[in-house]
């Protein structure tokens, strides 16, 4: 009776976790712009990985070699770092957007274009700076 209950719990956690991980990956392909796409992996995939890690803790406690606190450490680490990296990635995308106003109260258009020629621009600016110094 207890074994059936544990197995059902583990299977339910695995199904929920893999569903949310799949949702995160699918939204990465399906959604149209970067600021839409960043929602999927950062929220859904984090929840999915948390569910899978909980299932792993339950599995190793019931069927394996006892409780391993290291798995909870992984879950805590993933939950702590996911918002930080999402914030930094959206900052990176914002810094590449065209026509960024200095006034932060102005809301950017999420459909706006994100430059993909940042390397060429940086090289050109550096070259122009060097040439301008030669002329002067």
């Amino acid at each position: 009776m207890m074994a059936t209950l544990y197995t059902t719990l583990i299977v339910l956690l695995l199904a929920t976790g893999s569903f949310f991980v799949f949702l995160g990956g699918f939204s990465l392909v399906k959604l149209s712009t970067f600021f839409h796409r960043i929602h999927g992996p950062t929220k859904a995939s984090t929840l999915g990985v948390g569910c899978i890690l909980l299932a792993s803790v339950a599995y190793h406690t019931v069927y394996g070699s006892g409780l391993h606190p290291r798995e909870l450490l992984i879950a805590v680490f993933v939950f702590m770092t996911a918002p930080v990296s999402a914030h930094l990635m959206s900052l990176a995308a914002l810094s590449l957007m065209e026509g960024r106003p200095d006034d932060p109260s102005h809301t950017m258009d999420p459909e706006g274009h994100i430059r993909d020629d940042a390397d060429e621009r940086a090289e050109r600016e550096a070259r122009e700076a060097v040439e301008g110094r030669d002329d002067g």
Partner: protein, 86 residues
């Protein structure tokens, strides 16, 4: 059986993020895809450890999660400031 099915589903999510990593139109898209790939790898390796019934993979998963976070931070910093060491 359920573990194998979950591994297949997580593997397809990894393929999706790989597609975005190759295809992505801009640099932040590729960084996001790489970060998703790291998170999915964590899930996949935990599932693999359950499948083999071994606790060897926890350390590897911890290192991958940590390196993935630092890689994302460093790549985003590079895109923002065009310079890693300030």
């Amino acid at each position: 059986m359920a573990i194998l099915a979950a591994m297949v589903v997580v593997g397809s999510a990894m393929l999706f993020s790989l597609w975005r990593l190759i295809r992505g139109p801009s640099a932040p898209d590729r960084i996001l895809a790489l970060d998703t790939l790291y998170v999915n790898t964590v899930a996949q390796l935990v599932l693999f450890g359950m499948l083999l019934d071994s606790s060897t993979y926890f350390e590897i998963v911890l290192i991958i999660a940590m390196l993935g976070f630092f890689g994302t931070v460093v790549l985003s910093k590079y895109v923002i400031r065009r310079d890693i060491v300030e």
